[in-house]
């Protein structure tokens, strides 16, 4: 059965100066989460940035629910339903936790501040802390909340577990799974293979600005050679 | 878009070349006028231009049967810009005579420049630094008017004897023209027996004088204020607001029409202020009445009476035209005849006196002690208290002794 089409990327190209950072990216996804894996420097973050409109696309198209949003500036893409959790979390350092939430608060959102606080009691405790005075895990919760409150149809998350302690990584993974239950699409960029394998069913492998393969999570999980080849990870059990 | 712009630029340059180099040179005399048309002094400069134009309007732009062409250049109060303007007038526009400039340092700069251009005659506009003609003068630089010291003639004596001020504090801008004005005031005042315990030299463009206001000692009888434009407005307002109640004695530009026509309430503070000036807005003389009527008719957008700048540029223009008339337009031989005529030229000024030059080519002038008053229509002007005729550059002192006092400065003269 065909998935309803949430995101479709067609022949997306991005250049940085003379280097061809993203080359003819084609991705199509429905409500089932997808993860992009790849080594450092392969263009994963650039892809996220191009999808939310912060990096200029040289050519190609991006469709969200079959609407072409390629020419939209970032703010319109956000309004069209793309939520963004950037790499490094990018907190506003002069805003408190509460102000972060107030910034994006709207009437009739599925995610009012009360609900956010009930999911993340930690944030409620820290609501007057400044954005840069939070632990990595707290920042991540806030970054996710900030994106959630916009009622996104699709969340683009760039390395949400980067630099987090293992127990927190588990929490975040839980959260990613619960997003799916809320009917929010998820495009996840990860270094952490196990998080990616757990949160997503389909894995896109990115090498040198190209998507070179799309595999099922289970296939990759059981295939150390593939891990080794694409991701440079060598472990023997 | 870009190439269009280039075309326009190129066309402009070509056009400029043609405009500036007329193909057929007619028999006409070219006169350049330099005045300040930008920045803080623009209002004064504009009135200077009106004055010069008035002189030419009177003769229908003709002298000795020849057409007179006027070319105006703007400076920005800096000596550098005055020199550039003059060079362009001389070398590009090939003018025969230059009228201007407006301010003191520009005057000294043009005096120095004039030495290198023997084929051009310079007639000073309204600049009034003493040294322009008094020290190291130039043969082809003429001033049909006085310097800032001459303009203060009579005020020192009047203040001491008539008003009975024994001690006066000075507040003046910190450059050569106010130095000269203070010299003019003090040379008489100190001689009469008055004392000047404090001189406050403030940088030009000072906005907030409040600390000066409070530094003025309580035991002085009056304050001599030689500030121009916005500086005068600011000082007087702040002095009044701080409850200051000493009488004011004004420098020439402090009570000039350009200030009296300013917009705002502060002018009332000036009523009754005595001052020294060669230009009295409401002078009760036949010549002045004609002059100001003609000014008002020609320039409906002008000031309510000709300012000191209009007056002096007018006299410069008039001197040039009269001189040309006398030599029948002959400017040959490096304008030798023309200059000889100028040196001996005498004419009746708008204030009814006779303008003539001393051996330094500086005017021997009539100066006035005036006071500011409110006219019936609510505008302000000044009127004569005392007339001092025939003031020369040494203010009646022996020339050698006067020169020996040295150039004016912050500390010269002094009588604490």
């Amino acid at each position: 059965m065909m998935d309803s089409q949430l995101l479709k990327i067609e022949k997306l190209n991005v250049f940085h100066g003379s280097s061809h950072t993203l080359q003819d990216i084609d991705v199509s996804m429905g409500n089932k989460p997808k993860a992009i894996l790849g080594r450092n420097g392969m263009g994963k973050t650039t892809l996220c940035s191009a999808l939310v409109g912060l990096t200029k696309m040289a050519s190609g198209h991006v469709f969200l629910e079959r609407h072409d949003i390629s020419l939209f500036p970032p703010e319109q893409r956000a309004k069209a339903g793309i939520g963004y959790v950037p790499q490094g979390r990018r907190m506003f350092r002069s805003l408190s936790v509460l102000e972060h939430l107030k910034l994006v608060e709207r009437k009739n959102t599925n995610w009012p501040i009360d609900r956010i606080f009930s999911i993340f009691p930690r944030l409620a405790e820290r609501k007057s802390n400044m954005g840069d005075r939070l632990s990595g895990g707290e920042q991540q919760m806030l970054a996710i909340s900030r994106a959630l409150m916009l009622d996104p149809k699709l969340m683009i998350m760039d390395e949400p577990t980067e630099g987090l302690a293992p127990t927190i990584v588990d929490d975040v993974t839980e959260l990613l799974l619960s997003l799916q239950a809320e009917g929010i699409g998820l495009l996840l960029v990860e270094q952490n293979i196990s998080v990616a394998l757990e949160a997503a069913e389909d894995i896109l492998i990115m090498v040198n600005g190209r998507i070179i393969n799309e595999v099922k999570a289970d296939t990759l999980k059981d295939n150390p050679e593939m891990q080794q080849e694409y991701l440079g990870i060598t472990f023997s059990d | 878009m870009i190439s269009n712009f280039k075309k326009i630029l190129a066309a402009s340059v070509i056009a400029a070349t043609f405009i500036a180099n007329p193909v057929f040179a007619a028999e006409k005399v070219k006169i350049g006028v330099i005045s300040i048309l930008e920045g803080a002094f623009a209002a004064l400069g504009k009135d200077g231009i009106r004055g010069a134009e008035l002189a030419f309007i009177e003769t229908g732009n003709k002298a000795a049967g020849k057409d007179v062409e006027i070319i105006v250049m703007s400076s920005d109060a800096s000596p550098d810009s005055a020199v550039n303007a003059a060079r362009k007038l001389i070398e590009k526009d090939k003018v025969d005579i230059i009228i201007g400039p407006l301010s003191g340092s520009e005057g000294i700069a043009l005096r120095d420049l004039s030495k290198g251009y023997q084929g051009v005659t310079f007639i000073n506009g309204s600049s009034a630094a003493q040294d322009t003609t008094f020290r190291d003068g130039s043969d082809n630089f003429f001033r049909f008017g006085g310097d800032g010291a001459q303009w203060m003639a009579g005020v020192g004596t009047y203040s001491y004897e008539k008003l009975g001020y024994k001690k006066v504090a000075v507040v003046a801008e910190d450059y050569s023209f106010p130095y000269t004005q203070v010299l003019g005031f003090m040379s008489e005042y100190c001689k009469a027996g008055g004392r000047v315990p404090n001189k406050f030299w403030t940088p030009i463009g000072t906005k907030d004088y409040s600390s000066i206001v409070y530094a003025i000692p309580d035991d002085v009888d009056a304050i001599f204020v030689a500030l121009g434009g916005a500086d005068a407005v600011n000082f007087l307002t702040q002095y009044n607001q701080a409850g200051g109640n000493k009488p004011i004695i004004g420098g020439t530009i402090t009570i000039d029409q350009s200030i009296l026509d300013s917009k705002g309430p502060f002018k009332k503070l000036l009523v009754g202020t005595p001052a020294g000036t060669p230009t009295v807005s409401d002078f009760e003389g036949k010549e002045w009445k004609e002059f100001s009527a003609s000014y008002a008719k020609s320039f409906p957008d002008g000031l309510s009476a000709p300012s000191i700048f209009a007056h002096h540029y007018y006299m410069a223009g008039k001197a040039a035209l009269l001189g040309l008339e006398k030599v029948n337009g002959d400017l040959s031989n490096n304008q030798k005849a023309f200059r000889a005529v100028l040196e001996k030229l005498e004419f009746v000024t708008p204030t009814g006196g006779t303008m003539r030059l001393d051996e330094n080519r500086n005017g021997i002038i009539d100066s006035f002690v005036t006071e500011v008053f409110e006219r019936e229509d609510g505008t302000f002007g000044n009127r004569v208290l005392k007339v001092i005729r025939n003031v020369n550059q040494t203010m009646g002192h022996d020339a050698a002794k006067f020169k020996a006092l040295g150039p004016v400065s912050r500390d010269n003269p002094s009588c604490p």
């Binding site: 963004y84 506003f92 | 600390s211 916005a230 407005v233 702040q238 607001q241 409850g243 300013s262 917009k263």
Partner: protein, 288 residues
């Protein structure tokens, strides 16, 4: 000694005026990193319009609103139609605003001539009062300046610290891209900020024209003073602007009182000293 305290008071009141004049400038720089060299021209424009309106209506408050609105509209138009396209290109924006300030100054000279203007104050602010203790007369309008500066500072602080717009502005200062990615149209926000900055600047112009006077050249004077104040204090910080204004106001008045010859040089020496040691200004945050 008494004189020393009076000068202190003068420094305080002058600082109040400098602070009011610099608020719009620092606000615009703070969010947009735009060094608005047309700041002085906007101030002068507000003052001239304020003068005309006060002459017609006789109401000072109406004049101040009219002056503020005019500069707000002109400022917003400059940002919307010219500057907005070059966001992030600091040098180009600086040059564009220099060009605009040259044009505006010349057009204002055309419209209002070169004479000095003073805006009539309301009756209650005219004249002076006697200060207790020091026992000298002091101008009412200067005392009011301090209140105005306090009100301006507090309102601006409230705007930035307590309102949604303030949150958006601060977020924009921290990370403009992220703000966009959260659905905010920063272009529009920048126009609003420029309008608010212009409004403050125009109102400051009317206040300046009433407390002192205005004439061609006032634009450059207040551009320079605002630059110095904001740079010394730290660009984009309200507290910094207040501190900078205080330092510069004091330096100028003590300089004028005790060393008038080089008083104005002090101001710039302070600025050089501060920048050499703390390039971002006293309370400024360093750019990453």
């Amino acid at each position: 000694m008494k004189f020393f305290f009076i000068v202190f008071f003068n420094g305080l009141t002058l600082a109040a005026l400098y602070f009011i004049a610099a608020c719009g400038f620092t606000l615009i720089f703070g969010l947009m990193r735009t060094v608005n060299m047309a700041h002085g021209a906007l101030l002068l424009l507000g003052a001239y319009v304020g003068y005309e309106v006060v002459e017609i209506t006789g109401l000072w408050t109406v004049g101040i609103i009219a002056g503020g609105l005019t500069s707000a509209i002109v400022g917003a138009a400059i940002q919307a139609y010219i500057l907005g396209r070059y966001q992030g290109d600091e040098l180009r924006q600086t040059l564009i605003t220099i060009a605009i300030s040259i044009i505006m100054a010349d057009l204002m000279l055309w419209a209002w001539g070169g004479l000095t203007y003073q805006i009539s104050l309301p009756e209650m602010l005219l004249g002076g009062v006697r200060l207790p203790i020091l026992n000298v007369g002091y101008s009412s309008v200067r005392l009011t300046l301090m209140a105005m500066a306090a009100v301006t500072g507090i309102l601006l602080w409230l705007l930035i610290a307590k309102t949604k717009l303030g949150i958006i502005i601060r977020a924009g200062v921290d990370d403009r891209e992220m703000l966009q990615a959260l659905g905010f149209e920063t272009k529009k926000i920048f126009v609003i900020v420029f309008a608010i900055g212009g409004m403050l600047t125009g109102m400051a112009g009317v206040i300046t024209g009433s407390a002192l006077s205005i004439a061609p050249g006032t634009d450059m004077q207040f551009l320079l003073s605002s630059l110095v104040v904001v740079i010394v204090g730290g660009m984009g910080s309200i507290g910094g602007a207040a501190l900078g204004a205080l330092l510069i106001g004091m330096a100028e008045q003590y300089g004028l009182a005790y060393a008038p010859t080089y008083g104005v040089v002090f101001t710039f020496v302070i600025m050089i000293a501060v920048l050499a040691i703390r390039p971002q200004g006293l309370l400024g945050r360093s750019e990453k």
